[in-house]
Symmetry: C2
C-alpha cells in the first residue's frame, strides 16, 4: 500500500516538473526537485522507488519523461469529466480555471438552484437545475464533482449526491460529508485556511533566522 | 529543521481536530487521527514528537488541548491581516470565506485595477486601487497577500509586490513568481489541479480493490 503522503508529493512533483517544462529545462537532479517542492532528495528517491525504476541520467531525471510517468501513476486515464455543484464565486472561478483543462480535467456541467443561473453557461459548460444531478452525471459520464455550495445547503443535497453515483468529490464546504453510499465515492476535503497556517509557519520561521 | 511535510500534516491534523470539536468528541487516539488524515499512527506520533511531549490520555489525546498546541506551533500570533489582489470570482470567494476568519486570518483589504470595483466593499473589506498596495499594506499592517489576478497581469505587478513588503504570498496564479526582494517574502503556490490528480488516484485505487 503506497502512503497517501507519497501520492500528495507526486502531485507536487508533477506541478513542479510542468513549470520546468514551460521554462524549457530538460534535466533536473533529485536535489533540485527536492528544493522546489520543499522536501529532501532522499524523500524524492524514496517516493519514486514505489513505482519501479525511473530513467536516471547521471545525477538527474529527464523532466519530460518523469512528468509523463508520474501523470500515468496518478491518472490512469487522460481525460476526466468534472461537474461543479454551486455556480457561485468559487464554483465559477473553478469552472474557468485553465489549469484543470491543461491537466485533462474538463468541466462539462455546473449545477445550481437559483432560477436566474439555470440555463446560462460558463465557458462551454451549461448550468443545470441541481435536481437533474443524477441524470446529467450519468448522461455526461461525470467522474468528479466539486462541491461549492453554502454550508446551510449541504443537508438538503445529501440524497442527490448519494444517488448521483459520482466516483469522487472535491469538497470545499467546511463540513464533513458523511455520505451513505454502498459504492462509496472517494472524498477529498479542501480547506484553504490550511495554506494560511502553513504560510504563517514559514513567515515566523524566516523571522527567527 | 522540521520537515515541510510535517508542517503540512500539522495543518491537516488541526483541521481534523476542529471538526471533531464541532462534533463534541473529547478524546481521539493516534490511530483515529491517522485514519481521518490519511496517514499512519507512527507518522502522527513522529510528527508530534518534534514539538515535545503531548498530554497523552491512555491511548489518546485531548482534542481541545492538542488543537490549541498545534495552533500555537503553526501560528505564533492569534490574528493575522490578509489582503487579496484581484477582486474577481476567486478573490471574492476567498474574501467571504468564513474558514479564514474562524482561524484568525482577517481579510482587511482587496485590490483591483477595474475602476468599477474600486471603492466598493466585500463584507467589511474595501476594494482599493492596486497602485496603493504598498501604502495600504503598511497602514493596515498586512502580513499575507493572496494573489488572484489573471496570468497576463502578473508581469505588470512584480514591482508593486516587491515594494509592498508583505511577509507572505499565497499564489493562485499558475506561474512561478520569482520576486527579487532582499527580505524575501515566503511564497506558497496553490494549484487545485493537484487535488484533482490525488482524487483520480484515490478513485482508480478504489476501482482496483
Ligand atoms: N474550503 C475553502 O477553502 C473555501 C474557500 C472559499 C469558499 N469556500 C466555501 O465554498 C462555498 C461557496 O462559496 P462562494 O463564495 O462561491 O459562495 P456563493 O454564495 O458565491 O455561491 C454559492 C452558490 O451555491 C448556490 N446554491 C445554494 N444552495 C444550493 C443548492 N441547494 N443546490 C445547488 N446550488 C446551491 C447558490 O445559488 C450560489 O450560486 C461556501 O460553502 C464557502 O464556505 C470554501
Ligand atoms: N491555482 C488554482 O487552483 C486556481 C483556481 C482557480 C483560479 N485560479 C487563478 O486565479 C486567477 C483569478 O481567477 P478568477 O476566475 O477569479 O478571474 P477573474 O477574471 O474573475 O478575476 C480577476 C480579477 O483580477 C483583476 N485584475 C486584472 N488585472 C489586474 C491588475 N493588474 N491588478 C489588480 N487586479 C487586476 C480583474 O479586474 C478581476 O477583478 C486566475 O489567474 C486563475 O487562473 C487559480
Amino acid at each position: 500500500e503506497i502512503p497517501f503522503a507519497t501520492i500528495e508529493r507526486l502531485a507536487t512533483y508533477l506541478r513542479c516538473l510542468r513549470h520546468l517544462k514551460d521554462e524549457k529545462i530538460k534535466i533536473i537532479s533529485s536535489a533540485d526537485l527536492a528544493t522546489n517542492t520543499k522536501t529532501s532528495p532522499e524523500q524524492v528517491r524514496k517516493d519514486l522507488s514505489y513505482f519501479g525504476r525511473f530513467g536516471k541520467v547521471g545525477t538527474g531525471y529527464y523532466v519530460g519523461k518523469l512528468a509523463k510517468k508520474i501523470e500515468k501513476i496518478l491518472k490512469k486515464r487522460k481525460k476526466w469529466n468534472v461537474c461543479i455543484v454551486g455556480a457561485g464565486s468559487l464554483g465559477s472561478a473553478l469552472a474557468r480555471y485553465g489549469g484543470f483543462k491543461d491537466s485533462g480535467y474538463n468541466v462539462v456541467a455546473l449545477f445550481d438552484n437559483n432560477p436566474e443561473k439555470i440555463g446560462t453557461k460558463i465557458g462551454d459548460a451549461e448550468i443545470y437545475d441541481v435536481k437533474l444531478l443524477p441524470e446529467i452525471v450519468h448522461e455526461k459520464k461525470i467522474d468528479i464533482l466539486a462541491l461549492t455550495v453554502p454550508k446551510h445547503a449541504l443537508p438538503g443535497l445529501k440524497e442527490l449526491l448519494e444517488s448521483s453515483k459520482v466516483k469522487g468529490i472535491l469538497n470545499f464546504v467546511p463540513l464533513s460529508l458523511h455520505l451513505k453510499t454502498r459504492r462509496k465515492a472517494a472524498v477529498l476535503d479542501v480547506d484553504l485556511a490550511q495554506k494560511m497556517y502553513i504560510l504563517s509557519y514559514l513567515i515566523s520561521n524566516k523571522e527567527e533566522q
